[in-house]
Each structure stands twice: as structure tokens, then as C-alpha cells.
């Protein structure tokens, strides 16, 4: 039996987004024993999942607190125990989906075979050797250059194929019974029109839909006879209570009074879930409930509800997705109007809307994507750059849409600019031989700085080049220089090859 370790320490939603990888793994390789490394408190989605043989709960906070204390050696003892326990499993393969450096070091320490994703090399650098992991790491540097959902990228990293199958988030019969009792006690009868879950909070304020919009939505739905369940974490109790008070008797506030698992158990009773980019949204999608996801600064292409037929509403903003954590205007969220959400929840078809509205769909290639539901609605963003980056990661890819000449020209221009820089970097390194350093590395680093000032798709290519160059071990300087030259020239050739799909 093969043994696989998946490392993704947090967060709740990210772990749920990794569940399609687990499902694919078990479907393709049923004999593989799968262990999931997750931090304590973030494992809720994995509980009772038939695709996960072992949940390894890591107590990061205890290690962190010990490392910050005068008794820091206690943290070393804790880590040695953790590593010893994991290493004894002799994993044939480790898939590290986390971007945190600590996960990279842990991956190196516990692997007994192949590592996909970031791993720390004993030479002293972090390395990313597989192409889809390099792609995943480059996404944050150029968000508009990726058209793939995180769950699909995770599956591509794991090599388990894509397709409509979602992760198997399981609510047990006992959990469901208790949730049913909670609703019955609150007088919510689920035999008629199902209640609507409202999730007003999110990880940070810019992800939240304005509370006054939630109040309008809740009041409108209550006026139409719908009951509301207001969910949230303990930190969101205050805002949930305020929302509940404004809506009145139709609302049941469970935020902070039930656990995340108990909240998940309420979802099968829900006729709809209205939420920002949150773990509850991911859980509702994984359970196949109707989801109405409200997106502002974050990217629904990447982390929207995964699967088929979910709704995504996104404010029109040229900067989207900006990932601004403390945006003061929050125009993107404010421009999603409650009337549109009410209409969609009540099953109406929209011919116009205050914002862009999409449904999630699964393409012929098995990948999840956003489809505008309003006739002639715009794509979330221009897809030309993302088609080229996908061609880079998946050489047999051919786009299923027509690429406009002006978009193609811009992508080509930005890409060729990077290729020219990579060429100059390789030439600078070639001067290292045969005489030795004599400024060659300094000239290389000088040329490399030019990668920082580029924009558009060039930011994606620069990220790929830097990820690859940072992965080169440098213990043997001559071998490192030779490998860096190869990386520059190979990356350039791969970029040029990816441009072949452009008109």
C-alpha cells in the first residue's frame, strides 16, 4: 500500500477546497493510505470524510508559544515528536499545498519519497520542482493570469484528473438529527419552504457584504415568508445578533453558539446560503446546497464555490480582484444590491443586475469556470493571459474561445519583454565560465531586478522565473550557475511555446 501525506495546515475553507483532490486520489488510487496534516481547529471539513484515512492534527499554537518562551527547547521537543511520528509513516509521496515556509520545512523532514509543492532543501533554499505547484505559487503575483479554480489546481498537482466530482463533505445522521432538533426548537419547519442561511461575517472586513445590505436582504426574504439562519464564528456573534435583531422573529442566530461542524450540519436543511468568500460558502457548495456567493476583493475564479450551478455576484471594479485587506470604499461589495440577491434566492431570472452575476459550470475539460448569466455579461476578466499561462503549465491545452487580436498583442509584448530579460540573465551568467565569478553573478542579479518592474502577464512569468531560480541549490557555485542558466533559457523557451496559441 502506498502512503500519501497532504499538507495544508489552514484555513477552514482552504481545507474544504482540497477535498476534491482527496476524492480524486481515492477514486484513482483506492489502495493509497491518505494522511492529512492540518492545524488543530481547521480539521472540521475532514471529519468523517471517507477519502481521508487519518487526520493529523498539529498543535501549532503550543509549539509557537513554547518557541516564544524562555523554555523554547520545549518547542523543539514537541516538533521532534511530531516529525518522528510522521516520518515513521514512510510516506511515498508528500503533497504540500501550503505556501507557508514552515510547511515546506516539515515536508522535507517527513518525506521518504517524492515531494510535490514546496520543500526546503538541505542546501538552504525552498524548492518547487513540479510545474503545477510552480503555477499555484505564481498565481498571487498575477491574479488575472489564472482562470483555474484552486480545487482544480490542487487536483492537477496531485495528478488525479479533473471533472465534476466534488469533495465528499460528510454530515453524519447524528449530526443532522441534532441540527434538525435545533431548528425545530426554534420553530423552523423545514417541510415547507427551506430556511436561508445568511453568513454576514468573513475573515476580514473587505470580504464582508455591508451589514445594511444583509438587513435589507433578510427583511425582504422574511416578508416573503422565508426563515433565516444567521451563522458565524464566535468573533462574529455581535454582528450576527445585530442582524438578527433587525430582521426580527424570522431569524435564528446561531453564530458563536454552535461549532463549525454543527453549522455545517444545518446546511442540508437550507434552501439557500448567502455568504461572502467564507468557509461556510465552501461547505454549502461541497454539500450541493444552492449558494449565492458575494465577491469583492477576492477572486471567485480561484476560490469561488466549487462545482456546478452556484451563483457568484461580483461588484464591477476595474481593479478586481485587488485582494486589498483594508479597502475603505468597498465599492465592489456595496455595488451588489440586495434586490438582485433576493430575486436570485427566490429563483427569478435576472435580465439586468447591479453587478456581474455568474453561475459556476464545469467545462468539457473538467474544469470549474464562471459563466455570465446575463446575456452578453462580461467575463470576470479578460481570459487571454490566463489561456497562455495555462498553455505553459499544460502544453496540450487549446483554448475553447476566440482570442482578440488586441489582447493577444499586449500579452505577446509583455511576454517577449520577459524573454529578453531572461536572455540577458543567461548571458550574464555565461560570463562566469571559464574565469570564475568576476562580476558575472552581480550582472545577473542586476538584470534580474528588471523582472520586478514589469506588469500584466510579465508578473506571472517573473514569478515563475524567480520560483525556479530560487529552487536552484547553490552549495556548488559552478553547478548552481550552470543550472540557473539552464532555468533562464528553458523558461524563455517555454514562454515562447505558450504564446503559440495566440493569433
Amino acid at each position: 500500500m502506498k502512503r500519501l501525506l497532504i499538507i495544508l495546515p489552514n484555513n477552514l475553507g482552504d481545507v474544504i477546497m482540497a477535498m476534491p483532490l482527496l476524492e480524486g486520489q481515492k477514486r484513482n488510487y483506492p489502495d493509497t493510505h491518505v494522511t492529512f496534516f492540518v492545524e488543530q481547529g481547521y480539521e472540521a471539513g475532514l471529519q468523517n470524510c471517507p477519502d481521508c484515512d487519518r487526520i493529523f492534527r498539529f498543535d501549532r499554537k503550543s509549539v509557537r508559544d513554547a518557541a516564544q518562551s524562555p523554555d523554547w527547547r520545549q518547542s523543539i521537543a514537541l516538533l521532534k515528536n511530531t516529525i518522528q511520528e510522521l516520518a515513521s509513516e514512510r510516506f511515498d509521496r508528500v503533497i504540500n499545498l501550503s505556501q507557508h515556509p514552515y510547511a515546506s520545512i516539515a515536508a522535507a523532514l517527513v518525506s521518504d519519497g517524492e515531494v510535490l509543492g514546496s520543500q526546503f532543501l538541505r542546501e538552504g533554499n525552498h524548492a518547487l520542482c513540479d510545474r503545477w505547484s510552480q503555477y499555484l505559487y505564481a498565481i498571487p503575483f498575477a491574479r488575472r493570469c489564472n482562470s483555474l479554480h484552486a480545487s482544480d489546481v490542487y487536483r492537477l498537482i496531485g495528478g488525479v484528473g479533473t471533472g465534476p466530482a466534488a469533495g465528499r463533505l460528510v454530515v453524519t445522521a447524528d449530526e443532522k438529527r441534532k441540527a434538525g432538533e435545533l431548528l425545530a426548537t426554534a420553530g423552523i419547519d423545514c417541510s415547507g419552504e427551506s430556511p436561508v442561511v445568511l453568513q454576514p461575517g468573513a475573515a476580514y472586513p473587505a470580504k464582508c457584504w455591508p451589514i445594511e445590505h444583509f438587513i435589507s436582504l433578510g427583511k425582504a426574504l422574511a416578508a416573503q415568508g422565508r426563515r433565516l439562519i444567521i451563522t458565524g464564528a464566535p468573533a462574529e456573534r455581535e454582528i450576527a445578533a445585530a442582524l438578527g435583531a433587525q430582521i426580527g422573529g424570522a431569524a435564528l442566530v446561531v453564530a458563536g453558539t454552535v461549532t463549525f461542524r454543527e453549522t455545517i450540519a444545518l446546511l442540508p436543511f437550507a434552501g439557500a446560503c448567502v455568504s461572502g468568500d467564507t468557509a461556510i460558502m465552501h461547505a454549502a457548495a461541497a454539500l450541493g446546497r444552492p449558494v449565492f456567493a458575494l465577491f469583492g476583493t477576492t477572486n471567485p475564479v480561484e476560490t469561488g464555490p466549487f462545482g456546478r450551478g452556484f451563483h457568484v455576484l461580483s461588484g464591477r471594479c476595474k481593479k478586481r480582484p485587488c485582494f486589498c485587506l483594508d479597502c475603505k470604499s468597498r465599492l465592489c461589495m456595496k455595488s451588489i444590491m440586495p434586490d438582485d440577491v433576493v430575486a436570485l434566492v427566490q429563483g427569478e431570472r435576472l435580465s439586468t443586475a447591479s453587478c456581474d452575476v455568474y453561475t459556476t459550470a464545469i467545462g468539457e475539460d473538467g474544469m470549474c469556470f464562471l459563466e455570465p448569466i446575463i446575456e452578453q455579461g462580461p467575463d470576470y476578466f479578460d481570459r487571454t493571459a490566463s489561456a497562455v499561462t495555462r498553455k505553459f503549465a499544460q502544453p496540450d491545452y487549446q483554448p475553447d474561445f476566440e482570442i482578440a487580436n488586441d489582447s493577444a498583442a499586449l500579452v505577446k509584448q509583455d511576454s517577449v519583454a520577459v524573454c529578453n530579460v531572461l536572455d540577458r540573465m543567461a548571458r550574464a551568467l555565461s560570463e562566469f565560465f571559464p574565469a570564475g565569478p568576476s562580476g558575472a553573478v552581480a550582472r545577473f542579479e542586476n538584470e534580474r531586478r528588471a523582472l520586478q518592474s514589469l506588469s500584466g502577464i510579465a508578473e506571472f512569468w517573473a514569478a515563475i522565473a524567480n520560483i525556479r531560480l530560487n529552487s536552484v541549490p547553490l552549495l556548488d557555485p559552478a553547478a548552481g550557475v550552470r543550472e540557473s542558466m539552464r532555468v533562464c533559457l528553458e523558461t524563455k523557451e517555454e514562454i515562447l511555446s505558450a504564446l503559440s496559441i495566440l493569433p
Binding site: 501549532r60 509557537r64 518557541a67 523554547w72 516538533l79 507557508h100 520545512i105 476580514y204 468573533a235 483594508d326
Partner: protein, 56 residues
Amino acid sequence: MTTEKRSDDFLREIGRIHQRMGTIMLADEDLIMLLAEEISLTTTREEKQYSSGKDP
């Protein structure tokens, strides 16, 4: 601004490993120290003090 909570001898040990990085192959013991260092720099969600729905 964060206040340094870690002890001087912990930071000294870490500093020694950082000096060796790129010059020799690191051992498991070194990697575990670096792992502790990385974890010592992390925060919990509660410590980030996000206040949902309100500006920070």
C-alpha cells in the same frame, strides 16, 4: 509593530544555522530549529484581531 518575545539564546541558535545555510548541507536538527523559528513567527486568527464587518 511587534515586540520580540523570543529568548536571546533561541535567536543565537537560529543565527548560527542561518550563517551555515548555503555553505553546508543542513542536518535534521538544523531543519527542526528552522521549523521552530518559522512557527515562532506565526500568529493565530484571534491575534490578528479581525473584526468582521467593521473597518480595522
